[in-house]
């Protein structure tokens, strides 16, 4: 067992974990962050995407011990003070989710895409989301949502 301390959604947790424990299992089973989900066993689907120190990672592809001393943000920590993140809002507005299973990972990845490229083209959005599978939406409205969020985030940046 290894002892790790991880800040998850702003709260510090110290736990004993088996060295082989994946970050996604630590988040779901130990910390109770069941908003982050598992969709595959080959790191293809992106359903488990979270932010590690502000950058998106597939949490099934990271060991919990690697997160020791770092900060993790999950879908549950994205809204601030009861205000939805612009990407969350845009997903709702644009009907970018159906069953919602891919949604946490998709939103976390979309945030990352926009952080790296605040004004992406449609193709850049599509390529930025390539590691996240959705079986319901056909991606059409997800792309729209990311475009809408990009507009919202850049107007926030201008006004602040």
């Amino acid at each position: 067992m290894s002892r790790i301390t991880v800040i998850v959604d702003g709260v510090s947790y110290t736990d004993e974990v088996e060295p082989r424990t994946l970050l996604v299992h630590y988040l779901r089973e130990t910390v109770g962050k069941t908003g982050t989900v598992v969709g595959c066993d080959t790191s293809n689907c992106g359903a488990c995407t979270v932010h590690l120190d502000g950058t998106s990672v597939k949490s099934c592809n990271v060991l919990a011990v690697q997160a020791d001393g770092h900060e993790v943000t999950t879908i549950e920590g994205l809204a601030q003070n009861g205000e939805l993140h612009p990407v969350q809002k845009a997903f709702h507005e644009c009907h970018a989710l159906q069953c919602g299973y891919c949604t946490p990972g998709m939103i976390m990845q979309a945030c990352d895409v926009l952080k790296n490229n605040p004004d992406p083209s449609e193709q850049e959005i599509r390529e930025g989301l390539e590691g996240n599978l959705c079986r319901c939406t056909g991606y059409h409205n997800i792309v729209k949502a990311v475009q809408q969020a990009a507009g919202e985030l850049s107007s926030q940046a201008v006004s602040s």
């Binding site: 069941t34 879908i75 969350q88 709702h92 919602g100 299973y101 599978l133 079986r135 056909g138």
Partner: protein, 834 residues
């Protein structure tokens, strides 16, 4: 109590139906506040892992569980032998013929496995990780048996999937228009066309697909209460409850099934699974709550697969393009077992191969066959995509044979809008539709004539990147289904749906629906419907579903039935609430019922400004202080609706594909669809259903296919090899609608859940074939990978193109490795290099 209507002069409130309401479901889903089955934790809960057969066909000779039992954290290891009397069975609910050959499908195999991935033992441990570790330690001895994997070989009965059954042929099902009295003799029509008309004969392959819902299946069983509670990632909680009771010897009243948040299904969760039954058996044996969640690899291997047919089609026509007959001969792979509606899926195509056309003679033959592969059952569209693919490919082939425009040939044969209702050669009565209108709109949005002109230019200039235009004018039958028809087809259940409406004292409304959504947005759409019907605010309606305790009656969600059957039950329950409330309104207003009219949530006394709102009646009913003598104090109501007919949405889909003739690479340039799905409740939800459906159908055409090796091992057993499309593979679509309201339900709605998938596959393949037809290609097997497209081009015998050339010069050996852009500077290649 206010009885003065102060709203008589206000204009009617804006209707909810037709509004692009943002979904009620989203708030939880976008913030991670979800209840997936795998999220459920119960005190003392144990975790299961399955030991699965690596062999496609084998006898189990010994199972040694000692080492696994001794592993840390392991509570028990259970074999099929241990639970053989209590594990129930995976039932087939639709034997398509009385003599269907149906192998017994045990949840945990006892003596023999008939496909790779079958469960042979269950490990129970304190954690999922411990259970999985110990599963590796279970030592199973197998005697391998010969396996039959190829569908055509299986049909020849040389190797048997189940030796004890003596044959692989499960059932033969036929519909003949001459015998049924719905049309002429197809063989006569074909014989005549051989003399003086046109005969098109093709064999198409419907590859095996995997539904690949994003949430892996999961089941939690709590046997500790008087009523056993089963949470499952299922589309069919009610059917599951029934089959648990029917096959496990547990009284139905002792079983509660809950489908919490369910992450997609697409038919893949329209099943009662071995994993569910095994988990129930183990939980009951140990008296402890148990959870099993599959890995993705297990899901791809042992969740049921879809499609998998050979289609032999013969179409006869007169020289002027008028179709005179269609004969269909299907071989359908059922896999190792006949799953819940497995045999019935290809048979659903019987009424759909004739599609939107007025064929005078028709015959449908379907032979279902057993093999040693994963069992096959419903996948989005179920039987109708196969049929639509077959006929829409054939109509293109006919047009090509005649050298005519494929839309024109279709129009010559389709049912004209003034001919509805129309009884088809397969005996179905289509209630409404307007194929001309949908096609005209689609052509315009697509820029059909311009793209045809561009195609011509590119052909003439021998552009290495050719443009193809694919057409699919589809209809489908959905909204399963009139119970009487299901009875005639030997289906094991009815097709009705149930709803209850509870009028709460505070004016809020609870709507209980028997259908069970897994992403479709029923909570939002049903709220819109009830808001309009009862005149209550959208926000005041709560929709409850997916739990047999709150929703005791229902037949769940599949076959695009929720809206056309399930919501019709809701409408009827709402109308009963109004009828009941009217009696109380008359009493409270001291008026005659005949003088009341109900509008916008209020009973008004005609010709006066007196009135009372339905919420006030709900409160008065709750108090029950002042109700008519002898009245029962309730305005709640139930309704069960059994449809008279299916629902027949239709549409015209147009697809432009660019094909690089040197590499075989294909690029989708444009996709336009105009669907007629009757009245639209929520355009946003409809668009979403269409987009998602399109991509699943396009994926069949271009990317997906479940492949086995010669040993019967699924080689596309993970998301590395089973290639779902990503955002980068797909494009944005142009979607629109025409509306001819359905006449078979109150709201005029038609199903939409499967439409996109049904229509899009042939549109894409037709486009690719259209692009390379001048190179001698008239079919490409799906998925149309660059390799297959390239090979088809290589194998093609280039036909002379308007007399100008015999071969495309870019296949000229003198000019190898041409730059795709070179040699055609004046031709646009926009989109070809993306």
């Amino acid at each position: 109590m206010t009885i003065t209507d102060d709203r008589t002069d206000t204009t009617a409130p804006e209707l909810e139906i037709g509004k692009a309401r943002r979904r009620k479901e989203d708030q939880r889903l976008i913030t991670g506040r979800t209840r997936w089955t795998d999220n459920i934790q119960l005190p003392g809960m144990l975790h299961l892992a399955m030991v699965r057969s690596p062999f496609a066909h084998a006898t189990i000779t010994a199972i040694n569980t000692a080492e696994a039992k001794a592993a840390p954290g392991v509570i028990d290891v259970v074999t099929g032998e241990d639970i053989k009397d209590v594990q129930g069975v995976n039932a087939n609910a639709w034997p398509i013929t009385a003599d269907q050959v149906t192998p017994t499908h045990l949840p945990v195999a006892v003596e023999r496995v008939a496909c790779a991935g079958e469960i042979v033992a269950v490990v129970v441990a304190r954690s999922a990780a411990a259970a999985r570790d110990a599963a590796e330690l279970v030592d199973v001895d197998y005697d391998e048996l010969p396996a039959v994997l190829d569908l055509k070989e299986a049909a020849a009965d040389t190797v048997l999937a189940h030796p004890d059954l003596g044959t692989n042929k499960s059932a033969f099902w036929k519909l003949d228009s001459a015998e049924a009295g719905t049309g002429g003799d197809v063989d006569a029509a074909i014989a005549k066309a051989r003399e003086d008309g046109v005969v098109i004969e093709r064999e198409f392959r419907q590859q095996r697909l995997i539904p690949a819902f994003m949430e892996p299946r999961s089941v939690v069983v709590d046997p500790t209460g008087e009523q056993m509670v089963v949470w499952s990632a299922t589309q069919i909680p009610h059917i599951l409850r029934f089959l648990i009771a029917a096959t496990m010897g547990i009284p139905e009243s002792k079983v509660r099934v809950i489908a919490p948040d369910v992450g997609g299904g697409f038919g893949g969760k329209l099943q009662t699974t071995p994993e569910e039954f095994a988990t129930i058996a183990v939980a009951r044996r140990l008296g402890k709550p148990c959870k099993y969640t599959e890995t993705r690899s297990e899901s791809l291997l042992s969740g049921h697969h879809g499609r998998d047919q050979w289609q032999k089609l013969t179409l006869s026509a007169e020289k002027d393009g008028t179709v005179t007959g269609l004969k269909v001969e299907l071989l359908a792979d059922m896999g190792a077992y006949i799953a819940i509606v497995g045999g019935g899926v290809p048979v659903l195509g019987a009424w759909m191969f004739n599609s939107i056309y007025k064929f005078p003679a028709y015959q449908f033959n379907c032979q279902t066959v057993l093999t040693n592969k994963t069992w096959v059952d419903a996948y989005r569209g179920a039987g109708r995509p196969e049929a639509t693919f077959g006929i829409e490919r054939m109509m293109d082939e006919l047009a090509a044979e005649l050298g005519r425009d494929p839309l024109e040939v279709r129009e010559q044969n389709w049912i004209r809008h003034e001919e509805f209702p129309f009884t088809t050669v397969a005996g179905m009565t289509y209630d409404s539709g307007n194929y001309e209108a949908a096609t005209a709109k689609a052509k315009e949005l697509f820029g059909y004539d311009e793209l045809r002109a561009e195609q011509k230019r590119r052909r003439e200039s021998n552009d290495p990147v050719q443009l193809g235009i694919g057409v699919s004018t589809f209809t489908e039958m959905c909204g399963l289904a009139p119970s009487r028809i299901l009875g005639q087809l030997n289906y094991g259940a009815g097709g009705w749906e149930h709803a209850s409406i509870r009028m709460l004292a505070t004016g809020k409304v609870e709507v209980v629906t028997g259908v069970s959504p897994h992403g479709q947005g029923h909570e939002t759409a049903w709220s819109q419907i009830v808001a309009d019907r009862l005149g209550v605010p959208f926000e005041d309606v709560e929709v409850l579903h997916g739990d047999t305790q709150t929703s005791p009656r229902g037949l769940d969600t599949y076959g695009s039935r929720s809206l056309v059957v399930g919501a019709e039950a809701v409408v009827r329950a709402a109308d009963r609430v109004i009828d009941k409330a009217k009696v109380f309104a008359a009493h409270l207003l001291e008026a005659s019922e005949d003088d009341l009219e109900f509008k916008a949530g209020r009973f008004g006394v005609k010709g006066t400004d007196k009135g009372i709102g339905i919420a006030e009646i709900a409160l008065a009913t709750f108090a029950a202080h002042n109700l008519p003598d002898g009245a029962e104090p309730s305005i709640d109501a139930d309704a069960t609706f059994d449809p008279d007919n299916f629902s027949f949405p239709h549409g015209t889909h147009l697809c432009a594909m660019e094909v690089d003739t040197e590499t075989g690479a294909t690029t989708m340039r444009k996709y336009v669809c105009v669907d007629d799905i009757g009245t639209i409740i929520n355009p946003l939800i409809v668009e979403g259903q269409v987009h998602g459906g399109l991509v699943q159908g396009i994926a069949q055409a271009l990317w997906e296919g479940a492949e086995y090796d010669e040993q019967g091992t699924l080689v596309t057993g993970s998301f590395v090899d089973y290639t779902l499309p990503t955002a980068a593979d797909t494009i944005s679509f142009v979607t629109d609608h025409t509306t001819s309201p359905s006449t078979t339900n109150t709201l005029g709605t038609k199903g939409v859940g499967e439409a996109g998938t049904i229509a899009s596959t042939p549109a894409v393949v037709n486009a690719i074939v259209d692009a390379v037809r001048p190179l001698g290609v008239d079919d490409i097997v799906m998925p149309c990978t660059p390799e297959r497209v390239w090979k088809a081009i290589q194998a093609g015998h280039p036909v002379s193109h308007e007399g100008e050339r015999d071969a495309a010069p870019h296949f000229d050996e003198a000019t190898p490795n041409q730059d795709p852009g070179a040699g055609s500077p004046s031709t646009t290649t926009e989109g070809s290099d993306q």
